[in-house]
Amino acid sequence: MENFTPVSAIAGGLLIGLAATIALWANGRIVGISGILAGTLFPRHGDIAWRWLFLLGLLCGGLLYSLLTGQAAALELRASPGMTVVAGLLVGFGTRLGSGCTSGHGICGIARFSRRSFAATLTFIVAGIITVGILRHTSIELSL
C-alpha cells in the first residue's frame, strides 16, 4: 500500500462533506455532480443558474488547489483514446440511468440513509473492482 495517502484523503473528504453541507443548508440542494451537469444540458425553467455556478466552482476549486500548493493536481489518465470514449459514454449514460454518481449516491444519498443510494454505491464500486480486475489481471485485452 505504498500509494496510500490517508492524511490528504481525509482532508479532501472533509472538504467535500463541508461543500455538500453548505449546498443543502444554504440552497436546499443535493450535490450530485452527474445530475447537476445533466440539468445544464436539459434545463428546466428557473433551475439552471445554480448548476452553472456549482460547476464553475469546481474549476475554481481546482485552481485554488494549484495556487495554494504551487503545482497542478496530479493527472495520469492511462486509457487509450478509444477506451476513454467508451468509459465516458458508460459514465454519462450509466449515471443518468442510475440517477447519480459517487457524489450524489456515495456522499449525499448515504448520508440520508437512502436505500437506493446504498444499493447504487455498492453496485458501482463492485462493478469498478471487477472491471479493473479483468483489465489488469487477466489476459483479456480490449484494444480500442
Binding site: 473528504g13 462533506g17 440552497n27 436546499g28 443535493i30 455556478l53 469546481l58 468509459a87 459514454l89 449515471t95
Partner: protein
C-alpha cells in the same frame, strides 16, 4: 438581484469551490489513484474509502441537523429525491457507470474539475460523458 438571491448564488459557488478543492486535495482528480483503489488484487490504495468516510463523517450528522430545519437559508424548500424503491434501472445504471469508472478511473466530479488542466484526454472523456447523457435523454426520457 435581491439579497437572498445573491447569497444563494454565492453560497453555491463556495460549495462548488470547496468540492473541487476537496477532490484535488484528496487526489481523486487523478484517475491512476482511483484505479489504485479499485485494483484490490494489485498494489491496493485504500485512500478513496477514507475520502468517502471523511465526507460521510461530515454529511451524516450535518444533513440530519440541516434537514430538521423547515427550509434552507436561501431557498423556499429542500430539493430532495423521494424515491425509495430499488429497480432494475438503478442497478443497471450503477453497474454501467462502475464499468466506465473502472476503465478510465474518472467519475463526473473529478473529470469536470480536471478540465482545468486543458488535457486533451480529459476533454475527450468529458465530451463522451456528455454524449452518454444525451443518448440516455434521447433514448429513455
Amino acid at each position: 438581484m435581491s439579497k437572498p438571491l445573491i447569497q444563494s448564488r454565492l453560497s453555491i459557488l463556495v460549495a462548488g469551490s470547496l468540492f473541487g478543492l476537496g477532490l484535488a486535495v484528496s487526489g481523486m482528480t487523478n484517475p491512476a489513484k482511483v484505479i489504485g483503489f479499485l485494483d484490490i488484487a494489485g498494489d491496493w490504495d485504500p485512500s478513496l474509502i477514507l475520502v468517502m468516510a471523511a465526507g460521510l463523517a461530515v454529511t451524516v450528522p450535518a444533513f440530519h441537523l440541516v434537514l430538521r430545519r423547515s427550509r434552507p437559508l436561501f431557498a423556499h424548500h429542500f430539493f430532495l429525491p423521494e424515491r425509495q424503491d430499488l429497480d432494475a434501472r438503478l442497478i443497471t445504471g450503477a453497474a454501467l457507470f462502475g464499468i466506465g469508472w473502472g476503465v478510465a478511473g474518472f467519475c463526473p466530479g473529478p473529470a469536470l474539475t480536471a478540465l482545468l488542466s486543458l488535457n486533451g484526454s480529459v476533454m475527450l472523456f468529458v465530451a463522451a460523458m456528455v454524449a452518454g447523457m444525451l443518448l440516455h435523454h434521447l433514448l429513455l426520457e
